[in-house]
Amino acid sequence: MAGPAPIPTRRQKGDLHTETQLISMGPSHPATHGTVKIMLEIDGEQIVEMDVQVGYLHRGFEKECESGTWYQAIPYTDRLNYNSAILANLAFCMSVEKLLDCEIPRRGQWLRTLAGELSRMGDHLTRLGAACLELGAMTPFLYGIEARELVWDLQEMLCGARVTSNYVRIGGLQRDVTPGFLARLTTSLVRIEELLADFDKVVTSNRIFVDRFRNTGMLPLAKLISYGVTGPLLRAAGVPLDLRKAEPYLVFDEIDFDVPIGTTGDNYDRFLVCQEETVQSIRIIRQCMPVLEKTVGEPVNVADPRIRWPAKDRVFGRMEELIQQFKGVTEGIRVPAGEAYAAVESPNGELGFYVVSDGTGKPYKVRCRPPSFANVAPMRDMLVGGMLADIVPTFDMINMIGGECDR
């Protein structure tokens, strides 16, 4: 597989010498959905050199996590990737649970799987829709965003918030599904499928769209691996690396789904991979629903009050549970000293948390391995030598999320 084909420079021998031009794209640019500054050196419309400067949304995520209790870090993980907050909650809680060596009940695992896939759909729909918008196509963006609204409405039913979910807890979930959730989910999925079909008809074989996406933003596979690129970018290049299959966490080993891969690794393949993953997410959700219907009444949280404090109805009526809640909130849960790394397949790739505990109620270190950070790093190599117009589709498919990249 070759990288971007060398574009013959427009300047011929004997032409007047022209100087290259320096332009600054960003940090807040209308055609990028991510706060990043790109310093460009261009020769006409050809990119000679570029420097990608990240960090505009840095807000000290790790430092904040170290200052509170383990539970208090969960809302910060919401703010990493605003499109798929539940998956960031999940990755953090899984790393802490790994250190605690606790396993959550089966219903909780199925519900986490369902909520995580909803989150992934929201993320992919935004990526696909925004990619069209930033290339000047308003209509498909509205299809994507209408579908995302349905996903976010469902998330609101689950946890009371559309974006910053704060839904997953160490040892379980904030709450079980609300009444009527599964019925609403059934009807919403049908509508989302209609919207995806409309989206597909307008975009996927549209000549203008295909011309902008095909054969742009490619990088040889060896370089992608060297850069530690994961997620749809790597899968579009033909590597079926999906942690849901590779290290089946939750209940993914019991679920039937496919991992789409591409062949050339260009922006068009990345687009198709994301589109198919959305379809696969619907398939996964449909397999979770009957299990949740069958297991109504079973717990979603671990029963150990040292990890997950008791439900409110018992806290308000009993002495012992009140004390447990009080200690859980004020002192925080005790996590055994040691270190653990757990990762989930987020919509952008491997989202991992490396946590270190010194045995007290506060984390000693919470390191987030952000897929966006690793995926943005090779952007220079993807684009130098190409055309200025290739930046936007490539940046869209990298799907850099500032909150996650800069933390």
């Binding site: 596979l221 990762a343 991992g352 391995r369 800069d406």
Partner: protein
């Protein structure tokens, strides 16, 4: 009965010999501690070994154990993946390994591994930015998330969380 992580550690020990100073497999995460002066060499051997083939650098980070000697610990997370899909192993990911090394506060330097993995470039810049550990032979060791005028390294345990140093606006 040995777990997969313990088996992996045995293979890593056989490869690195005396360089594998310490190992553990807490919660199934195979971890090996190597000397600072040998870290680049060890990582290269782990990458180039035909059987282990840790060709994927997942993450580079550091931990500040203030009061301990050496003060810092560099943590590398490696993975081994199949670039070409195999029928017997459809998931591409084979195994993971954590490599750690202690870094003393002074001079606070480690060898850069940018020549081994392109991913190390930005990750080492972040470690430099947050912990002030300098990477020797790094091609472009600038701050990455913070701005050049920022003083100090915020993830060090002795950097107060409340300290503000904005480029514009109120200061305390």
């Amino acid at each position: 009965m040995t777990t997969p992580a313990e088996q992996l550690i045995e293979r890593v020990k056989a490869l690195l010999g005396a360089d594998a100073v310490d190992t553990h497999a807490q919660r199934g995460d195979a971890t090996v501690l190597v000397p600072l002066a040998r870290v680049r060499e060890c990582l290269q051997r782990l990458r180039d070994d035909a059987e282990l083939a840790f060709n994927f650098l997942i993450d580079v980070t550091a931990v500040d154990y203030l009061g301990r000697t050496p003060r810092f610990e560099l943590v590398y997370h490696l993975a081994s993946i199949d670039a070409v899909p195999r029928d017997d192993q459809p998931s591409a990911l084979r195994q993971r390994l954590r490599v750690k090394t202690g870094v003393p506060e002074a001079p606070g330097e480690a060898d850069s591994i940018c020549a081994l993995w392109a991913a190390a470039n930005w990750m080492e810049r972040e470690v430099f930015d947050m912990y002030g550990i300098r990477f020797l032979d790094h091609p472009d060791l600038r701050r990455i998330l913070l701005y050049d005028e920022f003083k100090g390294h915020p993830l060090r345990k002795d950097y107060p969380k409340e300290r503000r140093q904005p480029l514009v606006g109120p200061r305390n």
